[in-house]
Symmetry: C2
Amino acid sequence: MTGLDLSHVHAFVAVADAGSVSAAADQLSITQPALTRRLQKLQRDHEVQLLERRGPGLALTSAGRAFLPTARHLLREHDQAGHHLAYLRDGTLRELSVVAPGTTLIDIIIPFVATLGPDRPRTSVTEAALDLRIREAVETHDVVIFPAEPDDTVTSTELLNLPVWAHVASTHRWASRTEIELAELTEESLSVPTRNFAARRKLDAALELENLVLHQVQETNSGQVAQALVATGGGVAVVTDDPAFGLKPLRIIHRGQPLSMELCAMVKPDHYARREIAEFVHQLAVFCTQKYPSLD
Amino acid sequence: MTGLDLSHVHAFVAVADAGSVSAAADQLSITQPALTRRLQKLQRDHEVQLLERRGPGLALTSAGRAFLPTARHLLREHDQAGHHLAYLRDGTLRELSVVAPGTTLIDIIIPFVATLGPDRPRTSVTEAALDLRIREAVETHDVVIFPAEPDDTVTSTELLNLPVWAHVASTHRWASRTEIELAELTEESLSVPTRNFAARRKLDAALELENLVLHQVQETNSGQVAQALVATGGGVAVVTDDPAFGLKPLRIIHRGQPLSMELCAMVKPDHYARREIAEFVHQLAVFCTQKYPSLD
DNA sequence: AGTGTTTACGCGCCTCGTAAACATC
DNA sequence: GATGTTTACGAGGCGCGTAAACACT
């Protein structure tokens, strides 16, 4: 009948995360018996079993697994509401959280944040898995930067049309060119990151459309490594990273267009600080057009 | 620093709703000094002024107005989480809340709910303003029934292709016909509900497309009244309601198609009881095709 | 042995209600 | 004379930590 106690919900989530009551108790800075009491009160008050003995410790019941996302969501909303109040107090965001793929983080976000004065909101940055669900990420973070299709559920700002580069060593026979045809790649030995990277996905998609197959492919866990391999061993690195190790970047032409992807900044449309965030995104967009003037 | 106390948030919203501290205190079943203490603690803890003296009583500050939606949202999520637990306990929904426009309520939802056995979830029904924001409504209620365009953010089920009827008295010269052309309506004296009704909007949209203008229009506050006027005074009532007062319904043909609108049932895609709700919606859809077999 | 649970005790904090004096409009 | 605020008091509740015995695997 009575609404649930947030400290109980917190306890539940902490246990689910920590995997054991005592570990969670440490994390919550309370004693283990106290935590046990909270958990039992939560379950007794609502007559639901969320945890059960399994092995030496505890595990979630099916009900517990079902409730966990709801619990997390509630705590998140609770945090957000607190942040909203803090925002109303200060008039400015004191912290702004940004998610972006690692490549984007290194080439764009970090350099941009470095240009901001100290009076700007402190920016906390998180690396995104390329398979993140944007609608969820937008709930947890203030700005999501991602190569993405537009989505009506978020306010989306186009930052950049980001080329997918073919990097070659300066000794490579292509080194003096500025672009190559997609089909030409099949003649070469390629270094590409895994399918977790957007550049790889774009490349695969384009190849698929043309029924092209690569013959010599070295798969790496990052664009940087792909570039390093090319710098030392020759071949071509297909990545979105900026050139490194003195490599020469070439555009990849597919059906007359350079292979590229839209980089978008996405924000929850009803975010309480949408004004400030829009300003931040706008500055970021300006920074992007300055860094990549030819791509505008 | 510490997260906000839900009872404080509740206090704030109650005061905003009730308009005065003492009224809100009554509603919360606590004394007025206690409420005052809560409000001040909320504002002191977070160093924000949400309320200020205005006239004899209190009023929201601009910060208060800004925070109110967030506060409401948090309380709603809190409730939802509680309902989720109750659902996990009982295994079935004990209450299912439905929103629908008044016309739909009377002609479809109420008759349908009446057919359900007593072991079915208790259904609480709310009338919707026709200008409701579906994304918000879906947060507050389990099912939203509405003449609507599909929306990716909700799981939408088509219930019915609902005709916009032209009702005439049995003595009217059209009484033996089953359909009329849109343009013919301009010759007649029309009774139509206000633009708050979907039927009226459809009609206006179709007339606009054809550059047609009505000459004799009587605007009413409900479809029922429009029908009543026609039954007693003659003319044509353009509404989505079922026939009443012995009126004859005619389809309105526009560009070869009967004027109609899709009636959809919409549910939050990650609703904790989406399974049960989908079953409810399915039964409702079956009920609709039985009630309007010709329209399937 | 390393989990988590249970019991009992005492302490402290917090919030309530009451009641009465003030303050504003 | 509405409304909301402030003060002070005392009572009750609730949850904590501690500590120790217990239960399960």
